[in-house]
Symmetry: C2
Subunit: 587 residues, 2 copies
C-alpha cells in the first residue's frame, strides 16, 4: 500500500513532495465534528532505520505551513524545515532513531485535503471538505503508524500546531506514546491568536476569487486573500524586537519589487514577498482548514477539564517555550507543566531566552539552545556520572532510599542523579537556566524552569517525600511562603544553609561594624550580592516555631575543621552550616 | 470664516459632525512630501470659554479613527471619545480652559480629505489626494489656532497618532506651546506596528471595489477591505489578557449575526461587528491617508537625530504610557523621556499599570488613573503644602538655595516642594507608583517613573547640583552602580540612610545571633523584608573609598535622643542615621 510519487510543486493540486511516500487507506474516516471521508491518503517521509523490535520510531508533527519534508535525506537534498534538530548525530538522532513525518489531514502536500478529488463528485472537495480537528489529524497518523507496524512510539514531537497534535497523541493513544515533546504549545490558543486567524480567513473567504472555495476549476485563485493571511501570520511569528532589528536599518528604503501590494516600507516589501511566495506553495482551502483545526483545539475551558484531558496520558513530557513568543506565550506552556505536575506526570520544562518569537522553534540559534533538552529527553547514549559534594553527601544520608524528592535549586542535578542511582521512584529538579536544566536532564532526571518567587502553587499537596532547599534560601524573597509551600508539597523539607550568625561573621559585624563576609554564598560584597536573605540558625528556628513547623532533626557543621557541632555547643555561634529536617507540626 | 454645518452621518462624503464649526482657508497649502491643496477647510469643536488674554486654550489632537467630537457639549449630547478626561471639573477642566479639537487633514469628518471635491476636477480627490504627513496635519491646525487669535497654547494633548501630532506641535511651533502631553506615543512607531498597517492598507487597496481609490461615484465601496483593516486594528489596540477576559467566557458560542464574515468564535463575531460598524463611519481613502501619515512620522532613526528634532521644543512635557500597550510599548515612551531628560527639558513620566492595551488612553478606568497627572500638569487650582520631616529638614539645610536637585525615591515630593518654594531652578523626582508621581506633580514638580535597578543611564553628566538618595539605598540591588551614576549626574550626592551597625542592631546580632530589627526601614522581618541592602556607616565609607568618592561632609544622628553624634564618638556604633555629602574625588 506504500507508493512512491514523482516530485511536483503544485500545492493547489495537493500533490506530495519528491521524497514522500504515500499510504492509502480505503476505508471511511468519520470526522469528529461530523462528516465522513470515503478514504484517505497520507503522504509521509521517513529518516533512519526502524530497528528490529520497532521501538525506535519517533513521530514528528508539523505546524500550519509545514509538510512531510522535515530534513534532508542526503547532502544533495533540499533543506527540510527542522534540519537543525533532525539528522545523523543531531538531537533527534537518525543514526539511532527512525523518524516519521506525515503531511496533516486537510493539508496540501499529498495527504487528503480540500484539493483532493472527491470521489463522489469527481471534482476537488473545495469547501465541501469537512471540518477537520487536531484529533482527526492524529487519528489519520495513527492509521499510518499501525500500517508501519509500530506498536509504540519512542516519542512524538511538534511545535505550534505540531505541539497540539503531540498533546492529542499523548492523551488519545496513551499506550502508544513513551515520550511527548511539546514545543511552543498550549492547551488551546489565546483569543488574540484566534482573532488573527479569523482576519486571515476572512481575507481568503471574501476574496472574489475564492468562489465559495470551489476555485480549482476556475483558474482563478484567492491569491490575494491567502497572501494577506500569510502576511498577518508572519507578523505574529516574529517578535517586535526581531522586526525592529531586521527592518529598521532601512525602514524607508524598501527593496523594489513587482507586486500589487504596498511596497513603501522595508517591512512592507518583505511582507509582500512572503505573501506572494506563499501562494505558490500553499492552498487557500487548506489554510482555512488547518487554521480552523488549530483554533478549535481545546483541552477544556477550565483547569478541571484540562486535567481530565491530560489525565489519560502515560508518557513522560518535555515542554519548551520561548521568552519572546507572544502568539503561544510561555505562560501557556507553564500552565501545561502545572497540570502535568498536578497529575504527577513526569515533566521537564524550559523557557528558552530568545528574541525569535513564535518562529524560534524553527530557528537554528534557538534549536542549538533547546536541542540538548530534546537530546537528553530522548536518552543520551552515555549518561554523566554525578559529582559529589560534602553538602550533597549529608543530604543524601538523611533521605531514606525509595523516597521521592523535589530539589529546589538543583544546580546540575548531581544530588538527584545519586538518588536516582539508588533507585528513587520520583525525582524533580527546579532551576532557571537552560544549561542547568539540560545538565540535570542528562542524568535522566526531570527538571523544571520555575520561579521560586511565587512559591510552589503548581505542586500538589504531599506530592514528594522530601523537598530539598540546599543553599537556596538566601536568594528567595519570600522565605516564609516558600517554606510553607515546601511543607505542603513535601512530607518533609531538608533545608541546608550557611549560618549567618557564625562566630566569624558576628565578630566582623559586632566588632568591626560592617557587613560580614564568609566563603560560600556570603562571599559577595554587601552592595552587589545576589543574596536577599541572611538567615542565622536562630532566625530559622524561630521562624519554624512561628510557623508551627517541627524541626525533626538539626545537624550543624564546622566546615573549616570538618567536624559536627555537638549538643553541648552553641550551634548558632559555632556552626558554619546547618541542615534542618522539617515537617508540619501535629499541632 | 466660521460656518455652522448641519448634522450628517456620511463619513464617505467627508461631512463634519453636528457640533462642528468649519474654518475655510482658501490659500494653497503645500504639503511636505510634495503636492499642493488649493485650499483647506477645517472642522472643529470647542469647549469652555477663551479668556480675555487668550491664555487658556488647549488643543487636543485625535487618533486614527477619532474626530472633532471630543466630549459632550451638554447633557443631551452624544458622548465624545474623551468624555472622561475633558469637561467641567475634569482633568482638562472646561470651566477654566478653552478646549479645541479639529478633525485631521486627510480625515473624513469635515476637514479636507480624499472624499472632498477636488475643485480642479469637480469630483472627489480619491487617491489623487496627496500624501499627508503629521507635520501637514499640524500646519493646518496652526492655521486654525491663528484664525482663533491664539498666540500661545496653554497645552497640546494627544494619544497615539494624537501623541505624534503633539510631539510635532512642540517641535515645529515651540514658541506657541507651553505644555505638551504625549500619551501612548513614540518617536516613530515600531516595525511591527507598520507591518499591521501595511496589511490593513493592502486589504483595502486590493479590494476590487477600491477602484484605485476612485470609488465615490461608483456606489461600490471597499467595505470588505476597510472592515478587515479595522478588525486587525482592533486586535492591536487590545492586550491579549483583555481579549482572554472578554472572549474566553463564551469562546465557542459566538453571538449570531448577519454577516459575510466568519462568525465562528466569540472573538470572530466581535470582529465582524466592529468591522461592519466601522465602514459606516469611516472612509477607506482616509484610513489609508491617515495610517500612512502615522507610519511615516519619524523623529529620526538615530538618537542624535531624535535629539536634534526635540531640541527646538520649549515646552514642559508630560509623557504617559500603559504597561500592556504592545502597539506603542512603554519602552518607546521611556525613550522619549530619556531624550527630553538629556536635553534638560522639564518632563514628568508615568507608566500606568493596566491590561487595557493601547486603547487604555480611551478607557474610563485608565483615564481615572492618569487623569490626575494631566490635571496636575495643567496646574491644580490649589497647590498642596509640603509635609515636613526630620530627615528632609536636615537635607534641606545641606542644599544651598539655587541648587538643582534630582531626588531618587522622592515619595510624595515634599522635599522637592520645599526646595521649589525656596526658588530652586531645576527639580526632578523619581518614583515608581502612579499615586506618588501624581502627588509630586501636584507640588508643581516634575516626577519620573523610573527603575533605579538600571542606574541612571538616561541622565546626562552634571545635569544636577545635587542628587538625593534619602532612605532609598536599602532597596537598590546595585548600590555601586547607582552611586557612580548619581555622582556622574549630580555634582554632589546626598545619601541618607539608617545605620545597620548601630549599637542596638549590633547587639541583637552579635549577642543574640539573629537578624537585627529597628524602627524605620529595618522594621521588617528577615524573611520578607523589601530591603536588599543593609549598609553600615563603615560599609558606606569603605565603599566610597574604594570608588574614589570624596565624603565632603558626614552627619550622624542619634534620633532616639534627638542629638547629633560628636566627632569624639564612634559614629558607626552610636548613630542611628547618617547623612553623607559625596562628590567625585579629584584623584
Amino acid at each position: 500500500m506504500v507508493v512512491d510519487f514523482e516530485s511536483t510543486d503544485s500545492a493547489r493540486s495537493g500533490k506530495p513532495l519528491r521524497h514522500a511516500q504515500s499510504a492509502v487507506f480505503p476505508t471511511p474516516v468519520k470526522l469528529r465534528k461530523g462528516g465522513t471521508l470515503p478514504g484517505v491518503e497520507v503522504a509521509y517521509e521517513t529518516y533512519g532505520t526502524l530497528n528490529e523490535d520497532r521501538s525506535n520510531a519517533v513521530l514528528i508533527c508539523h505546524a500550519i505551513s509545514g509538510d512531510s519534508h522535515l530534513a534532508r535525506h542526503d547532502e544533495h537534498d533540499e533543506p527540510g524545515w527542522w534540519d537543525g534538530l533532525v539528522g545523523p548525530g543531531k538531537a533527534v538522532d537518525t543514526d539511532r532513531l527512525f523518524v516519521i513525518c506525515s503531511n496533516v489531514l486537510g493539508g496540501c502536500r499529498g495527504t487528503t485535503g480540500p484539493a483532493t478529488l472527491n470521489p463522489v463528485t469527481g471534482v476537488p472537495y473545495g469547501s465541501d471538505f469537512p471540518l477537520v480537528t487536531v484529533e482527526d489529524m492524529v487519528d489519520v497518523q495513527k492509521r499510518l503508524i499501525d500500517l508501519l507496524g509500530i506498536q509504540r512510539l519512542r516519542a512524538v514531537l511538534g511545535g505550534s500546531l505540531g505541539a497540539h497534535q503531540t498533546l492529542c497523541w499523548a492523551t488519545r493513544y496513551p499506550e502508544q506514546v513513551q515520550t511527548s515533546v511539546v514545543i511552543a504549545g498550549s492547551a488551546r490558543i489565546t483569543a488574540q491568536a484566534i482573532a488573527f486567524d479569523v482576519v486571515g480567513r476572512n481575507a481568503i473567504q471574501t476574496d472574489p476569487h475564492f468562489h465559495s472555495g470551489q476555485y480549482y476549476g476556475t483558474h482563478e485563485f484567492p491569491d490575494t486573500g491567502l497572501a494577506l493571511a500569510r502576511m498577518l501570520g508572519h507578523i505574529t511569528y516574529l517578535s517586535s524586537d526581531a522586526m525592529t532589528r531586521k527592518f529598521d536599518i532601512d525602514r524607508h528604503a524598501p527593496r523594489d519589487m513587482v507586486t500589487d501590494f504596498e511596497k513603501r516600507f522595508s517591512v512592507g516589501s518583505y511582507l509582500a514577498y512572503q505573501g506572494e511566495q506563499f501562494v505558490g506553495r500553499f492552498d487557500a482551502n487548506s489554510y482555512v482548514t488547518v487554521t480552523l483545526a488549530m483554533d478549535n483545539f481545546d483541552m477544556g475551558d477550565t483547569r478541571e477539564k484540562r486535567l481530565d484531558t491530560l489525565r489519560s496520558a502515560e508518557c513522560d513530557w518535555l515542554v519548551i517555550s520561548f521568552s519572546s513568543d507572544w502568539l503561544f506565550p510561555p505562560s501557556q506552556s507553564r500552565e501545561l507543566v502545572a497540570l502535568m505536575t498536578t497529575l504527577g506526570e513526569p515533566v521537564s520544562y524550559c523557557e528558552v531566552e530568545t528574541d525569535g518569537g513564535h518562529d524560534s522553534f524553527l530557528l537554528p540559534d534557538d534549536i542549538e539552545a533547546f536541542g540538548p533538552l530534546v537530546a537528553a529527553k530522548l536518552g543520551a547514549p552515555e549518561p554523566k556520572s554525578p559529582r559529589k559534594s560534602a553538602e550533597d553527601d549529608r543530604i543524601f544520608e538523611l533521605i531514606p532510599p525509595d523516597s521521592s524528592v523535589l530539589d529546589l535549586g538543583c544546580g546540575e542535578g548531581d544530588l538527584l542523579a545519586r538518588l536516582k542511582e539508588r533507585g528513587a521512584p520520583l525525582l524533580c529538579g527546579v532551576e532557571v537556566s537552560t544549561a542547568l536544566i539540560a545538565a540535570t536532564m542528562q542524568h535522566g532526571v526531570e527538571a523544571i524552569d520555575y520561579d521560586l518567587n511565587v512559591g510552589l502553587p503548581e505542586f500538589d499537596d504531599n506530592r514528594f517525600d522530601y523537598v530539598v532547599l540546599s543553599s537556596t534560601l538566601q536568594v528567595v524573597p519570600n522565605v516564609e511562603r516558600l517554606l510553607e509551600d515546601a511543607l505542603r508539597v513535601g512530607r518533609r523539607a531538608i533545608v541546608g544553609f550557611t549560618n549567618f550568625a557564625h562566630r566569624t561573621l558576628r565578630e566582623m559585624f559586632g566588632l568591626e561594624g560592617r557587613a560580614p563576609k564568609a566563603p560560600g554564598p556570603y562571599s559577595h560584597e554587601w552592595y552587589n550580592t545576589p543574596n536577599r536573605r541572611f538567615p542565622s540558625i536562630r532566625d530559622m528556628l524561630e521562624l519554624c516555631e512561628k510557623m508551627g513547623v517541627t524541626v525533626e532533626e538539626a545537624r550543624y557543621y564546622d566546615d573549616t575543621h570538618g567536624r559536627v557541632i555537638g549538643d553541648d555547643e552553641d550551634a548558632n555561634l559555632a556552626a558554619e552550616t546547618a541542615l534542618l529536617v522539617l515537617s508540619k507540626s501535629s499541632r
